[in-house]
Symmetry: C2
């Protein structure tokens, strides 16, 4: 063995990796999410991990967090490439749609499940590399409003199928906020939206303070904004509650109509899964209508696990066409890691195999391999033990890997094949051509 | 629309991305590969895209190609993190095994399908971001030789199932090379291996020249090396051909025994799929036994599409345990992109949907949504058209997305549901509760 110094083998902080028994569950999650997305006819898109920096920064967001690339032994000229890792899947998607505009069929409905990178300080729920699962619909000139309801429906189906702990998808409409703010005489609604978006972090008093000191609102205006933000209702009844505040305006009416339509469309979902919450603002400037933000009920301080909204023209930096869209992003790694940390995720087996075929003796190894091949030909997942060895050791190997069944080829020419059910401990003769593991 | 300058929306050169109808085929490939890997009981591992630079460079290889990371607006101190994107999956796997040594069950058999990055100049078959599919077996102290045969068997099953054009997996054994070179009195066999590995690029004459001028071999030695490298045989008969060169030695015998055993184990595979080729050397120093290299038969200059071999102790930089292993990497993106470029890959549909449900009129939209929900509840993949529109336009949308069936909810209360088969053009009444698309 080498005497060279040992390099510390840990993964870098903020870059999670899982043991096989956890990874197998993550794979099941990814498969489940993909099945639900495809059930609604969304197609898969993957974009490069790397984009030109001017693409990444076209929207002017989160520039601090971007990781840029440089070849290890690059000369100065090489730096001109100006490449960075993507920090979300929305900007690359907008770029993708612009790049392939003439080859795509609109409305374009895609899902995208990829890793993204942010140079943040790692803390609970924040990673520097994580996987997001996004769905977006983008269209030329106009995206029908019913997609604003279809996306939370899909998210509901995903989270329900995954069996995650209780969560609420809060929904609002930027037009309601902007129309309301304009209706009470506020000149710069976007600044008020940005301040209102900090409600979670600084509370109503903090928001009221910033509204007066920074945005220049008077006390009545600030109070009206807080009254609006306090409204929360399970359905389209939210409209009456907003109207009761006595503010009027066309944009407000339009927003309330949209919000009510979306909520009505979702009225069949279980109570509490989708709720109108007028405090939801979403900090990003590009949202123009419906906005979404999902949170765990039991961990209100954990931050959002899904978010998104409707945007008027995200691809406008790349192409001179109006391409509005609506999208939601599911924070897969954030949710998954939280449940893992809370002990709410049951690890799976450390092997995908249905069966371990034992090798009774070196002489009978060929027979064991033939048995494994016969089972594989029937679609079963089969490990063969790697050498002739004590049977107890081979069975223990299956137990440690969580393999549910152990197959014993005949130990003598006049004997049968046998299979042992590791859960019950029962062992019985079995036919290579017909045996299947009982359904889980 | 904004008058801001347009940012060029193309993906960066060397970072491939596919249209939905190509991505859907890539997904099918990935699913197929995963199914085959799991059929042999290999478990999935994913490691972070990013490793500490001292981990990446522990083996001293390919340092030029490594992309290092830096936060966009980092201060000088931030650079100390010294992070880089992985350039293969073998080094991260070795680090992973060392990090989780006490939690893994050995022999540890894993597959890993991930993107890797190399700061190379893009050209045919060379990308800066691409996906590799690796399988490796790693064990404490000893890995049974039969795994050296199992891996090419799995690769054979993968490539056959994918239906790629004819290829050959060339196989050799480093012990044969080293034993042979020692047997003819060469002092530094590794240097000769590195020179022999360039046969493809510089030909026999170039190799002979380097062997004499750089490695200091005499003419007889150089000729013997070329005679060895010229040997190529479909099975264990290769042993006789090597013996005929009259060189002797224990290590040579050991290597020939191993090579014969592996070839015998694979004798049932179709002729030409696995061939002993004594010119295969693999440049990397860490291989110690069996080595593999697969190539397309029809494009001999395209370079290798799979490669790998047996290594004595790849994790030795990270942990003071002897962890030998054997592995093969399938160059997925390289193969996929080549077939795409050659026109040998038939794009799939641009939507995963089995059915498009049309919306006959705005009044009947709820009925269309209900029909779609009923079909989805039975596991079908269903798009609903996004608005009431001319039927011809809705059917054309299905055609452009490659959706095989169009579903017509009743246009009047006394009518039936109907479904149109887009391939045959036939339209017939259909039952929401029983209809399924005919198997493809």
């Amino acid at each position: 063995m080498s005497d060279a110094p040992i390099v510390r083998p840990l993964p870098v902080s903020g870059f999670p990796e899982w043991l096989p028994e956890v990874r197998i569950v993550e794979q099941r999650w990814l498969d489940t999410i993909r099945v639900v997305f495809e059930r609604y006819g969304f197609c898969s898109v993957e974009t490069p991990s790397v984009e030109a920096l001017d693409v990444l920064l076209a929207k002017g967001e989160t520039s601090q967090e971007v990781y840029t690339l440089r070849r290890l032994q690059a000369d100065a000229a090489d730096d001109s490439a100006r490449l960075g890792l993507h920090f979300d899947l929305t900007v690359p998607f907008a770029r993708y749609v612009a790049a392939h505009f003439n080859e795509l069929v609109f409305p374009f409905k895609r899902y995208q499940m990829q890793r993204v990178w942010r140079g943040e300080r790692p803390q609970e729920g924040r990673f520097r590399e994580f996987t997001q699962c996004d769905i977006d619909v983008i269209n030329v000139d106009r995206v029908p409003l019913h997609f604003d309801a279809e996306l939370p429906r899909i998210v509901h189906e995903v989270l329900t199928t995954l069996g995650v702990p209780p969560w609420t998808l809060n929904i609002n409409n930027r037009k309601v906020l902007q129309g309301f703010y304009e209706g009470i005489g506020i000149g710069d609604p976007l600044e008020v939206i940005r301040i209102a978006d900090r409600m979670d972090k600084i509370g109503p008093a903090g928001v009221a303070d910033l509204l007066t000191t920074r945005a220049g609102l008077d006390a009545d205006q600030a109070r009206a904004c807080l009254d609006l933000a306090a409204i929360r209702a399970p359905g389209a009844g939210v409209v009456d509650e907003v109207r009761r505040l006595g503010v009027k305006g066309d944009l407000l009416d339009e927003g309330l109509d949209e919000l009510a339509t979306v909520l009505d469309d979702l009225a069949d979902l279980p109570a509490g899964s989708v709720v109108a919450d007028l405090s939801i603002a979403r900090g990003l400037d590009y949202y123009t209508g419906t906005v979404y933000e999902a949170k765990f009920v039991d961990w209100p301080d954990f931050g959002s696990i899904c978010s998104g909204g409707r945007y008027e023209n995200l691809a406008g930096s790349f192409i001179r066409r109006s391409l509005p869209g609506v999208g939601i992003s599911i924070g897969l790694t954030r949710i998954f890691a939280k449940l893992l940390a809370e002990g709410l995720l049951t690890p799976g087996p450390a092997s995908p195999a249905d069966v371990l075929v034992v090798v009774p003796t070196a002489e009978r190894r060929a027979q064991a391999l033939a048995a494994a091949a016969a089972l594989r030909a029937r679609g079963l997942k089969v490990e063969t033990y790697h050498q002739a060895d004590k049977l107890a050791r081979q069975v223990r190997y299956a137990a440690r890997k969580g393999i549910g069944h152990v197959w014993f080829p005949p130990f003598a020419d006049d004997r049968d094949h046998e299979v042992k059910d590791m859960a019950s401990g029962e062992q019985a003769t079995a036919d290579l051509d017909t045996w299947s593991p009982p359904p889980a």
